[in-house]
């Protein structure tokens, strides 16, 4: 029956789309804001739900969406590969799934995806470190996110692309929590007073780490990821060495727009949309795109 509805809805060009968000961090809120804004723009009826970092809840949310008869569900999953069950569920009900942030090995059963190429983010930060170090032998620390693929890919992209002269001397998870990241950074600078660079998996944590380094009167240079207003500001005034901008609002807007086009079978849109990355350094900070729609 859902299949019929899909085609019927497609007929008058008015879709009902569900958005299942993964959590309530700043990123997630921006993402949702962008999707909501775009939905209004395109006249799409939008239902939203939040899984608060719980894979079971995510599946429940998708079930709820299916039972209200949406035409597609956009999922910001709580766990990169945990969407498998979501997809199976949705497939059985003939409701296509569109992903944000992540890609699957097998994208056949997915309507499409709007992603941030995390490995490239790591790589760009690594290249920044390489350029800044200018061939000197340097010690590098990593404050990762929470254990799981997202953080692994991001950190992997960074560590794999560091020059041979850079040695990773510490790698600890900050659990995507500024408080934890601050604690980790405090201990890290204690254990490795000679640290030159630290890669922090997101800006919220980077600010926590910054507090720690400031307190330890250390001049460690921080490279990070997001490109939020605060982060760009920090790069501008030299607090951070650099960050990689990948605006949540772009990811979100792209997601809704291409989901609709893919439902329309519009050939002009790629199945996978990549959020453009911009390396933000002191010189380029003025041109950094806005992270979050107001």
């Amino acid at each position: 029956s859902n299949g019929d509805e899909t085609t019927a809805a497609a007929g008058d060009g008015k879709y009902t789309i569900g958005f299942v968000n993964g959590n309530n961090t700043e990123f997630h809120t921006c993402l949702q804001g962008a999707i909501e804004k775009k939905a209004e723009e395109l006249g799409v009826e939008l239902y939203t739900a939040n899984s608060t970092q719980d894979a079971g809840k995510e599946l429940s949310n998708i079930e709820d969406m299916i039972s209200r008869g949406v035409d597609a569900v956009i999922v910001q999953t709580v766990n990169v590969d945990a969407v498998e069950a979501d997809i199976a569920k949705a497939k059985a009900a003939n409701v296509p799934i569109y992903l944000t942030s992540v890609l699957l090995d097998d994208m056949d059963d997915v309507l499409g995806a709007s992603v941030v190429p995390l490995a490239d983010v790591g790589k760009m930060d690594a290249q920044l470190v390489e350029k800044d170090a200018a061939g000197k032998q340097v010690e590098v620390g990593v404050v990762a996110g929470a254990p799981g693929a997202a953080s692994d890919v991001l950190v992997g992209g960074f560590t794999d692309n560091l020059p041979g002269t850079a040695k990773v001397v510490a790698n600890q998870p900050g659990m995507f929590s500024p408080a934890k990241a601050q604690e980790v950074a405090e201990n890290m600078i204690q254990a490795h007073p000679g640290l030159d660079y630290v890669f922090v998996a997101n800006e919220e944590m980077a600010f926590g780490a910054l507090n720690a380094f400031k307190a330890a009167k250390s001049s460690v240079k921080i490279v990070t990821n997001n490109g939020t207003e605060r982060g760009v500001e920090a790069v501008k005034n030299g607090t951070f060495l650099g960050t990689v901008s990948n605006p949540a609002q772009t990811t979100g807007a792209n997601a809704l727009e291409s989901a609709v086009k893919l439902l329309d079978k519009d050939k002009s849109v790629e199945k996978i949309t990549r959020t453009p990355l911009t390396l933000v350094t002191k010189d380029t900070a003025d041109q950094a795109p806005a992270y979050c729609a107001e």
Binding site: N21, N24, Q32, Y47, T48, A49, N50, T52, Q53, D54, A55, G56, K57, L59, S60, N61, E63, D64, I66, S67, R68, N79, V80, D81, A82, E84, A85, A88, K89, A92, A146, P147, G148, A149, D152, M175
Partner: protein
């Protein structure tokens, strides 16, 4: 032994036996209504259902109700086991984490080609072993079970990452029957939960073992002095709770199809179960509890989560709503109890 000497019963009749009559005499409708078990909780549940039904048509559809039932199944299994543990004056905070690590373990087994039957048996066996360790520590060191099992939960959370090596492992279609199948129109997960709940209820009401648990929770010293094998019963209890967590883990895997690192996921599952059991009227002090109350608690939490989604409450306000309903339900349950109860 019939020692009807100059038995006091002979004369004391006025006060001695008409108890039943006296009781029936007073009372009336109100008293009868107050005596309905779980009245407060039921009323809160009904109110939530009615409110949601009037606000959105999507709520009272068969599909949606089945969704709710499926969604609460895993929590229900853990809550059933927890009801037993808490009735015996214990606590197990590790069941959610145990379920998560078992899901990881089972996924690895299936991924490495083990048959479904062996996987399920091994999973439940391992979980039972984990529960047994909890039981041994709780019983023989006398550390508060809350502390022991909270520590176990932390440890298991770490081992889940080890088992998965930080990656996601899929169970493919192996458990699709359990996770996606139906029996008599109900999801298999729900059927499983119903069986567990029914068995738990029967154990609590109709077996000496169940009554032993009430006795242990009521006064452990007296239980021991009365010939109840308190230590053995406790070991059995925690091992059983472990086994049911294992079952919950398999159910979890069958539902999510894959297992991924989920720090904190187990604790959240556990807190949901604890909340359900407690608003269902099971005492944190032990010696009192019912499966029916637990079922109502589980359903209430499930319905509220579902209703909040259907009503499109902002995700900021969802926790606010859940917390509020939790307090109201607990208060409603308590009010009735203190009215009805004597001290």
């Amino acid at each position: 032994m019939s020692l009807k000497t100059t038995a006091p019963e002979a004369e004391g009749t006025t006060g001695r036996e008409p108890s039943g009559r006296r009781e029936r005499a007073s009372g009336g409708l109100l008293a009868t209504v107050y005596r309905i078990p779980h009245l407060g909780l039921t009323l809160v549940l009904l109110l939530v259902v009615l409110f949601t039904a009037t606000q959105t048509d999507a709520f009272l559809t068969e599909g949606n109700l089945i969704n709710v039932l499926r969604q609460v199944s895993i929590t229900a299994v853990i809550a059933a086991a927890l009801t037993l543990v808490m009735v015996a004056g214990g606590m197990d905070f590790s069941m959610g984490s145990s379920a998560y690590i078992i899901a990881a373990f089972a996924a690895q087994l299936i991924d490495s080609g083990t048959s479904v039957t062996v996987t399920i048996l091994a999973s439940i066996g391992l979980a039972m072993g984990i529960g047994l360790v909890n039981g041994l520590v709780v019983t023989y060191t006398k550390v508060a079970p809350f502390v022991v099992t909270l520590a176990t939960a932390t440890i298991l959370d770490g081992f889940q990452l080890v088992v998965l090596d930080g990656k996601t492992v899929s169970s493919g279609d192996a458990l699709a029957g359990l996770g996606a199948g139906y029996f008599l129109g109900l999801p298999n997960l729900t059927c499983t939960a119903l069986v567990v709940l029914a068995v738990t209820a029967l154990i609590m009401k109709y077996t000496t073992y169940g009554r032993d648990l009430f006795a242990i929770g009521g006064n452990e010293h007296v239980a021991r002095l009365s010939g109840i094998g308190v230590n053995r019963n406790k070991l059995l209890l925690y091992a059983g709770a472990g086994a049911l967590s294992g079952l919950a883990g398999v159910m979890l895997l069958s539902r999510l199809v894959s297992s991924s690192p989920s720090p904190g996921g187990g604790l959240m599952l556990q807190l949901g179960a604890v909340a359900a059991v407690v608003i269902g009227g099971t005492s944190l002090e032990g010696g009192r509890g019912t499966v029916v109350g637990t079922i109502l608690g589980v359903i209430l939490l499930g319905v509220v989560a579902n209703a909040l989604n259907l009503l499109q409450i902002s995700s900021f306000y969802q926790p606010v709503s859940v917390g509020t309903v939790l307090v109201i339900a607990a208060v409603a349950n308590q009010l009735q109890k203190s009215r009805h109860q004597t001290h």
